[in-house]
Amino acid sequence: MTRIDELRILVPVDVSETEPPPLDVLDHLGAVEVVLLGYFPVPDQAEPALLRDQYGPEATDRLDAVADEHGNPAEVLVFTHDREATIDRIADEYDCDAVLTAGRSTVVDRVLVPLRGDVNLDRILAVVADLLLAGNETATLFHSVAEDADPTQGELLLMGAVDRLVEYGVERDRVDWQLSKGGDPQTDIVELGAAYDLVVLGETEPPLRERIIGDVLSAIVDALDVPSLIVRDVE
């Protein structure tokens, strides 16, 4: 297990919308590489090429405008029938470690990292470590255990995770942890997330495209007001 070294995140932006999404968070992530994906959702009834011919220049301008505002990252523009498949493919193609969803945060000081267990844990921690080393945020690791379960299991998980971050070179006083007992993890994360500037979530198999719509992860992402960083599960 190694660090990721150069954290690269994919930022999907719907370029059919006139209003650019709130992406202030991008300016506060420090030295993180960004790939800006402008996607134009094409309805089943139309050919992607048809909309590209009609809206290509407009979409390019919008994407350029977003890029100009946030330090001119690399841009990719796609007209697609299937947003999730596109996000997945471009993330793969550009070797992105995580996908950022937009949200209202003007600064990034506090990061919430809910951990579900061992699933995808290595990658989540590697991304968090890179994120912290690239900026000045503090992170709270969060785990939820059932009412009747033994809490020491959860504590061990969280403390182990903190140690791991410290091993990566993160100062110990920038990381704390919180264990919740008996609540519904989903509600806990959404409620707690309101007090943070960014939430880092782990994607698990099946891939992002199925995860984003109609399951726990996407419910959380939708309910959160703040941006979230979804760590891809590429192995």
């Binding site: 309805p43 139309a46 090429a49 809206y55 493919r89």
Partner: protein
């Protein structure tokens, strides 16, 4: 750590924004459900009654024939789709292959065919809703419900839908499961007596029914239409197309056998909801509910696919200028091609309304849709042949029909389509021909003049535009140019299997600073003109196509290199005066850069006597050896001789026969690598202690000597062995130095 390489990669990605970002997201399962799901539709729920009435129990054979015709079309479409993954499907292939006239015929035919099909599905939808409910009765209700269903569908499509494969998969799964239960249980209720006589109306009844039920197979083409989105297309496109057509055919045949086996075909023929009437006998009311449910879902999804397919065809026609692009302006808010959808819907609604007056509307619509698509697929088969023969640039299918499937599939496809069409009802043939005629008139009045699409037909008739095998000969000296051109013509002819022989004679006039205003002395131009004129005469004698080029440039060598590049020369033959190592150049100021940098096979020839005679090639192990051997064979054709491939060995203290065997194997290996037959050359092996002298002595017996130049050009030096040097100096005959590309 440097991020340089990554940056580059990102910029590459950015570049592709301007190109076509195609999402290859569909795997085998997705392609199968797409093709199968689009196919399994209303046809099988609505048509068994009509089919049974016209063909009896043998209507299952009609389905099998229709499936086979669809399979042939699927095979041809597979190849075309992997060659041109672009929106438009059949219309596009025909338009490219056969030009705008047939493009217009097929485009309009497919559009109207899809409207016929859509109206057919919606009337079937009305029948399945009306019939089971006793107090609803009559044509008005059927037509009215069909219209309501259509309006709902149009509304949904006008506002646009996002891809929801999950929903589609569920509906397809439910439909298929219900049909499978129907078949699996029904098999046990077949009364063999019902299947006798099997074909009460004879073969013509079976074939004419094929024309009606062919509509049940519409939909497999969608796999070709989305070819650009399919992963591993060379495998998945043909596999999923073939398999989905075959499986659906089997399913249909079984449904038909069960239906005619359970209920006598006469009473089946009276029913507008045949499958439901069969199901009630052994699955009871629950079976009826299930079948009605499946039929309704199927009608909606089939009609929806037709509307989607129609907007794709209209898009492609608008893109090519066959219809106005006005149809393709997308809705400013929903981004759907709302005009195309509205136009399709309007005509479909009119077709449904015809059902108020015409009793046999269902069969008519089905047959008219089948007609349009049979005509379209016939032209697709012809297009495949045209593409194969014309072999245009950019057509490089990753799946090609193997022999003998090609040409059997397209030929059989056209023949069978015509047979089926010929057995159709007269009124349908009239309507269908009317639509074809409309396409022709449309082309003549609207398209022509706007569209430059010529098609590939004329190229296909002329045959493949042959790749030339091009030999470039720089000429400057009237004394040597005849000899050089003779060698070049021989080389080009000897390579006829690689392309049509073609010579390019180039003369470069050196000037210090070329400019269009500068006067080159008149006598130099005169010299150039004479030179190239006589080159034409020589070429005419030798029966080879010759083009001449004149270049004015400051540096002759650079100019020759440019010409080699532009002409994509396969071979170059340069004359050289036979001197070496002079003024700091190996062969001369002009020749050196060409030898160093040319990327084609190169022969450097010094002509010392008139006859080329019998050439000898000096074969030493190395990758130049096959080129040298082949060149000797090429030159030998000038005087119709058999060249000698020579290898000289030192005895190395062993017996001469060992050395001789060694030498022979070197020669044979090189000849084999050059693709030469043993009869095309003689072998000579000389064993001697002084190799250099032995070579000179042996080669002096021949008129022309071919020697390899090593291709290990490090830096600017042209490596040059002492053996080569001795041959050049001491051999009295013609010498050709050969360097492979």
């Amino acid at each position: 750590m440097s991020s340089e390489p990554r940056r580059y990669e990102l910029e590459e990605g950015q570049m592709s924004v301007e190109g076509n970002e195609l999402e290859r997201t569909l795997g085998f399962i997705e392609a199968m459900t797409l093709g199968g799901g689009t196919m399994i539709g209303a046809g099988i729920f609505i048509l068994p009654g009509i089919a049974a009435e016209a063909a009896g129990p043998a209507s299952s054979v009609s389905y099998a024939i229709a499936g086979f015709v669809a399979l042939l079309a699927a095979l041809s479409l597979s190849e075309l789709a992997t060659g041109m993954p672009i929106a438009g499907g059949s219309y596009h292939y025909v338009n490219r292959a056969l030009g705008g006239l047939f493009g217009a015929v097929v485009g309009w035919g497919m559009w109207t065919g899809l409207m016929f099909a859509s109206a057919f599905y919606m009337i079937g939808f009305g029948q399945y809703l009306v019939e089971p409910i006793p107090f609803l009765d009559g044509r008005v209700f059927i037509v009215g419900l069909g219209l309501v269903g259509l309006v709902l569908l149009l509304g949904v499509n006008y506002y646009g839908t996002e891809e929801s494969s999950a929903f589609q998969n569920v509906t397809i799964g439910v439909e298929t499961a219900i049909i499978l239960v129907f078949v699996a249980v029904g098999v046990f209720f077949i009364d063999p007596g019902n299947l006798e006589p099997f074909a009460p109306f004879g073969p013509s009844g079976v074939v004419s029914t094929t024309g009606i039920v062919f509509i049940s197979f519409l939909g497999f083409e969608i796999i070709a239409t989305v070819a650009g989105e399919i992963k591993n297309p060379s495998r998945i496109i043909p596999l999923s197309m073939i398999l989905s057509v075959v499986l659906v055919t089997i399913l249909y045949v079984l449904v038909m056998l069960v239906s005619t086996g359970v209920i006598p075909f006469e009473s089946l023929g009276d029913s507008p909801i045949p499958v439901s009437d069969v199901a009630v006998t052994y699955l009871g009311p629950a079976g009826v509910v299930a079948i009605v449910f499946a039929a309704i879902i199927a009608a909606i999804s089939s009609s929806n696919s037709s509307i989607l397919a129609a907007s794709r065809v209209i898009y492609a026609m608008g893109r090519d200028g066959v219809v106005t692009d006005w149809f393709n302006v997308s809705h400013p808010q929903f981004y759907t091609p709302h005009r195309a959808i509205a136009a399709t819907g309007g005509v479909t609604a009119l077709l449904i309304l015809v059902g108020l007056e015409v009793e046999t509307i269902i069969a008519l619509l089905a047959e008219a849709a089948s007609f349009s698509f049979l005509v379209a697929y016939s032209l697709v088969h012809i297009s495949l042949v045209v593409f194969r023969r014309a072999d245009p640039d950019g057509y490089d299918p990753s799946f090609a029909l193997p022999r003998p499937l090609y040409p059997a599939v397209p030929v059989l496809g056209v023949v069978l389509s015509l047979v089926v069409v010929s057995q159709m009802a007269t009124v349908v043939v009239v309507i269908g021909s009317g639509i074809v005629a409309f396409g022709v008139v449309w082309y003549a009045t609207y398209t022509r003049g706007r569209v430059v699409s010529e098609g590939l037909l004329s190229e296909a008739i002329r045959g493949k535009p042959a790749e030339p095998f091009r030999v470039v000969v720089p000429v400057a000296n009237p004394q040597t140019q005849r000899g050089l051109l003779r060698l070049a013509a021989a080389s080009a002819h000897a390579n006829e299997d690689r392309g049509t022989p073609e010579l390019v004679a180039v003369n470069v006039t050196p000037v210090a600073h070329p400019s269009p205003f500068q006067n080159v002395e008149a006598d130099r131009f005169e010299h150039q003109r004479e030179l190239l004129e006589s080159a034409h005469d020589i070429a005419a004698e030798m029966d080879v196509t010759l083009r001449t080029r004149t270049v004015v440039a400051p540096d002759v060598g650079e100019a020759i290199l440019d010409v080699l590049e532009e002409e994509e020369a396969d071979e170059a033959i340069l004359g050289w005066d036979g001197t070496l190592e002079r003024d700091g150049h190996v062969f001369g100021a002009t020749v050196d850069p060409v030898v160093r940098n040319a990327s084609c096979d190169l022969s450097l020839v010094t002509l010392r006597n008139e006859t080329i005679g019998t050439p000898v090639a000096l074969i030493a192990p190395g990758h130049n050896a096959p080129v040298v051997a082949h060149q000797a064979v090429e030159f030998a054709t000038v005087d119709g001789t058999v060249p000698t491939l020579l290898n000289v060995q030192s005895p190395r203290g062993k017996s001469d026969s060992d050395a001789e065997a060694r030498g022979r194997s070197v020669v044979v290996d090189a000849a084999e690598a050059a693709g030469l037959d043993p009869g095309e050359y003689d072998v000579q092996v000389v064993v001697a202690d002084d190799i250099g002298r032995a070579i000179v002595e042996a080669t002096s017996q021949y008129d022309t000597v071919c020697v390899g130049l090593s291709e290990r050009t490090e830096g600017s030096r042209i490596p040059f062995g002492t053996v080569t040097e001795r041959v050049v100096h001491d051999v009295p005959g013609n010498v050709a130095l050969i360097r492979g590309s």
